[in-house]
Symmetry: C2
Subunit: 375 residues, 2 copies
DNA sequence: CTGAAAGCGCTTACAG
DNA sequence: CTGAAAGCGCTTACAG
């Protein structure tokens, strides 16, 4: 059996460049075995070797006034040579900046891992954070309100510089909580209330227009909408805007509340298609339900798109790879994530402008939508 | 225009319980406007109010000896009342414990967001971290070696207590690097070298047996394997073990190296199926390629499973929801993530036993596999 | 331009 | 059982 001690003993074997210098020259022997690796290089080390004060080192490293160019360069060179990286806890403690943003997602784990939405959002956020050398502290809680605890705890603990919030609910308690805690927040939002928190806004009206214009052109006059749960603000808005837009274009819409789950999408679609007067097109609130709709149609012998068109609100690999491919709106999820992170850092930095429009979506027309059947 | 200042001014409006007490009693006026919220409660505050020392407060909060039960209770009660949470930077700085583990994934963003594997793994890890009140620091870098920088930086910065590594390569540079840095590591691994880092091991032999036993029973004697890139250790092992096991059972296997990408899976499958002597079954290294294989077969008019069986190494919603459903091995990804996090925390805690077996996989038989065609 | 010193909020020997 | 004090590794006024 190997012990952590032997792990540390083995350090010499690595042939790595940075830190390889003589960082260990002063105290290569670690303290208590297993406590983890060689002593880290600190600004005190740099100061001592360069015969200057810690303050000067700090100024030099942070690009602040207070040191000559020459001194600064000597500091930077030595830091590079020794592989110095400032202890993040010390920086956080003295400067109250963590270079970390927090995301807490309170959804059913099964859904989180099935829908590509979250991962694509995270990828987008990460792309931005990489560029500005910040990090993401992530927590996936269940759906039972533990998320509030985590938000509160992380705020009080000073673990993050701010939060990005998803899945806004009616009277979402997270927003007053974080406002009270005084933590910068950006809500990835579908509406634009003036509640003085950061919001990256993408109104559903855009998607509504893309979907309904497409369907109207194809001659559909009688459609159905299987939404996600109405507890989400964006679902309420989708229903309302879809209805209004459809009214204006003389299209009838029946709304059914779904749960985003496959089974549910299947069941609700079945009911619609076996109705004596079925709709000629169904818009589903997410990719999973759209796929379910596709399957049920096939199962019932209802031809897609000849007898019914199937469209999804939110594009994804599932829509793209389904057979037939499902017409959907590419919500630019990665770009949206990126933009949210960017906005949060600006809000945290004191930027007065809290609201911003998200990048526009685009319709991806595939085989699942076609002309309305004439009957 | 709203300003961060006005954001802070608005704090009173929240009606939240914790911290609502009289935490602001001493200095409700924030410092510089916009710097974020009311002053946090610290152990000094607790000590002052209870007329005891900071040390006693610390002992009480951490459940250590050094305070009477009565004092401890008074401290805990007050902490609860004021919504006290220890500043994580201060704890990290003085105790060198961050309660955070790091994960750096260096893969093509498109792949990360398409394959459910990573998200399911993260969910599993999170489930465990939730229970032990730890957090995940996540970074998704591209495939260009920036991951080494991040690992080095996070280590030197003392940001994490350890790392979980995925996607081990040949002579993976991350392992010597982290050993040299002296940071606890767990590699989610497919083999068991004695290299003194933590390893959660799941040998491919298990999956090989599940797949080949199934195919042998169905009468297949001539199969193909479209793998992922051989740069991954697990892919090399899969090929070797598949070959050995097939040899023993008198099954011929041709191996083709794929990339995990849909297009690639399609192209390689096309070649196999248009061969004058096509295999009767194809095992694909991931779900995307398996789906591609299914599509190509359909396109070529090759019936699945009557003329060719399609199986995937790794189950996923894509396999489950495909039509026909794709037979695949459920690798227990969430459980594996959980186990990896658990092992890492134990390794970091000084546990001598570095290696552990991952939970076993299970075959999910679906419509894409059937008896070998007689010809 | 540079240094000595206080402070961020904890933990932890060390005396009482 | 309790308190005074040093220390973790930085940053930041404040004097020179």
């Amino acid at each position: 059996m190997t012990t952590p001690g032997s792990l540390a003993d083995d350090e010499r074997s690595g042939g790595d460049r940075a830190g390889g210098g003589n960082a260990g020259g002063e105290s290569a022997e670690d303290g208590p075995a297993g406590s983890g690796g060689r002593r880290r290089v600190t600004i005190s080390d740099l100061a001592r070797r360069l015969h200057i004060s810690k303050a000067s080192v700090s100024y030099a490293l942070n690009g602040r006034a207070g040191v000559s160019e020459e001194t600064r360069q000597r500091v930077l060179d030595l830091a590079e040579e020794l592989g110095f990286h400032p202890n993040s806890a010390a920086v956080a403690l003295s400067a109250s900046r963590t270079r970390t943003i927090g995301i807490v997602i309170a959804r059913d784990p099964a859904l989180i891992s099935t829908e590509a939405f979250y991962m694509r959002t995270l990828v987008g956020i990460e792309q931005y954070l990489n560029e500005v050398d910040s990090s993401l502290l992530l927590r996936l809680t269940g759906e039972h309100g533990e998320d509030l605890d985590v938000l509160r705890r992380w705020s009080r603990q000073g673990r993050v510089d701010g939060f990005i919030l998803f899945d806004e609910h009616d009277d979402d308690p997270r927003i007053p909580l974080l406002k009270e805690l005084g933590v910068p927040v950006v809500v990835v939002s579908s509406n634009d209330p003036d509640d003085e928190v950061g919001r990256l806004i993408s109104s559903p009206i855009e998607t509504v227009a893309l979907l309904l214009d497409h369907l109207a052109e194809l001659g559909h006059r009688d459609i159905a909408h299987i939404s996600g749960p109405f507890t989400f603000v964006h679902e309420q808005l989708r229903v309302r805007m879809l209805q209004e837009y459809a009214d204006r274009r003389g299209i009838a819409v029946r709304h059914v509340e779904g749960s985003y789950r496959y089974d549910d999408g299947a069941e609700l679609t079945r009911r619609l298609l076996t109705d004596p007067n079925p709709p000629t097109a169904i818009v589903l609130g997410n990719d999973l339900m759209a796929l379910a709709a596709l399957r049920v149609a096939t199962e019932l012998g209802t031809k897609v798109p000849d007898e019914v068109s199937i469209l999804a609100w939110d594009d994804s690999p599932l829509c793209e790879l389904a057979g037939p491919g499902i017409t959907a709106v590419d919500q630019k999820t990665m770009e949206r994530g990126r933009a949210a992170a960017d906005l949060l850092l600006r809000v945290a930095g004191g930027e007065p402008d809290l609201h911003e429009e998200a990048p526009a979506g685009e319709l991806r027309v595939r085989e699942s939508s076609g002309p309305a059947p004439k009957n």
